[in-house]
Assembly symmetry: C2
Homo-oligomer: 261 residues x 2
DNA sequence: ACGACCTTAACGGTGCGTTAAAGTTT
DNA sequence: CAAACTTTAACGCACCGTTAAGGTCG
């Protein structure tokens, strides 16, 4: 009297839907013990509940069905054990990261809710990855913004116009020890340009950036700076290099390079 | 000289791919400022970077594009603010839960890795939701398993056979105060049966269960019990009611009702 | 004969990634 | 003129849920 279950009952017993069982059969990850060749009804055995459980346990840990299939294929071999360990370690990594980012998001949501409660308009802050790009720049201590404008003008004039890319901006270095502020206007380069003592040729390094936008006025820029600072504090990131100001047509993009903290 | 960006450049500036921009255009969540009617080229304005940023910020918090669209539709209205707050609160909830389950999974993965390292074969444990079902049962203090078998036999004989469902098993009550153990064999009911003093008619309550399978022998059952106990301790759940033993053809399913802890 | 089951097939949903084939800008 | 861009269209992914239109079991 070896009981066989039809799909519906097996579904109820195992806790998944019959559609899921049909799907698992179709992709070959978990098949019924027998199939009636006439009616094509699927029949399952009690022992298969455990087999399915081992699949569901893995899936419950976040393993993809493809990976489960991979692992189940060569079950019992010593190689499979290594594979499993490897997969679980990958998973561990992912889980830790997802917990981190979830926690950051949670904090930020709370802060945003508090802002909304106070009626403050939240300024959107977004994360971006930027690749490294070649730039030409001039770095200098600055006393006024006019000085920066002058530096930039000189930089642009010193370079052959066909080498100048679309991206322009200023890097702001704050030296903790001296407390002094240095500005470094830069332009992206499309082509090689001759090295001269007058400007530096370097790379704007690849980075993850927290970004916000502002109008061209100081007030608006200050708000954007504050928004990014708050965002970083709340989300638990730290600054990792000079801040970047990107010039857009009557707009400014404020970028803070990030380091997980 | 109001600069317009073509899709590629706007994509680079904003940090999303041009495909994403086309997709957002298609679903109407974020459209280019102008489209050349001849070439159908999309053109974007610098100000749109901020508009897109506000969308990306929400998405970064885990809001679905549908929800973003919903929120963006009536932006500025006081109703939109309530909607936004509501959405953020829903999100907060989800994030907290996902952090919880991720943390549980993390612990369980670590334990599984430790087991694998020791060469122990991990017994799969899975979570299931079960609905309430009507049962008939007899509860009693027990000294031996034979007694349970007898009780079950009596129960089955006392009931009209056409009312007896497929599910049979035993509930195990452990009374903390007395330290005594009581067993309660039960059978699921397909139909109404007369109430008699001899057996109880009740509901097997709906529950979330941690489950494992074992063979019919005591040794195997003990291992399954231990596996579930360990799993619960590691994942941080607590027992919420009598344990359930489900009888399957030459197999046992061990079920522990759960309570988040 | 009735209801509760089972079958396959096909489309839907999320948020785009990935070709492919053809036209446009610099 | 060639390189680098753009367009639409269509399929793919993961993991099934959800009809729909029929055969089958007790």
């Amino acid at each position: 009297m070896t009981t066989r279950y039809r799909i519906g009952e097996f579904a109820r017993l195992s806790g998944v839907t019959s559609k899921t069982l049909r799907f698992y059969d179709q992709i070959g990850i978990f098949r019924p013990s027998t199939v009636d060749p006439l009616t094509r009804y699927r029949y399952y055995l009690p022992q298969q509940l455990e087999e399915l459980a081992s699949i569901l346990a893995l899936k419950g840990l976040g393993v993809s069905l493809a990976a489960v299939q991979n692992l189940a294929a060569k079950r019992g071999s010593p190689e499979s054990k290594r594979k499993l360990v490897q997969e679980l370690q990958r998973l561990r990594q992912n889980l830790e990261e997802s917990i981190q980012t979830s926690a950051r998001s949670l904090n930020y949501i709370d802060a945003t809710l508090a802002d909304l409660d106070l009626g403050t308009r939240p300024i959107p802050v977004v994360l971006k990855r930027r690749p490294a790009i070649p730039i030409a720049s001039i770095r200098s201590k600055v006393r006024s913004y006019t000085e920066i404008d002058n530096l930039e003008w000189e930089l642009l004039n010193a370079l052959p116009s066909q080498s100048i890319g679309d991206l322009r901006g200023t890097l702001w270095h704050r030296c903790a020890d001296s407390g002094s502020l240095e500005g470094e206007p830069f332009v992206a380069l499309k082509q090689w340009v001759p090295a001269r003592g007058f400007y530096d040729l370097k790379q704007l390094s690849a980075a993850t950036l927290a970004c916000a936008y502002s109008g061209p006025d100081d007030d608006s820029a200050e708000q954007a700076y504050d928004a990014v600072k708050r965002w970083m504090a709340i989300a638990g990131y730290r600054l990792a290099g000079p801040k970047r100001e990107i010039y857009l047509e009557n707009m400014l993009e404020i970028q803070f390079p990030l380091q997980a903290a």
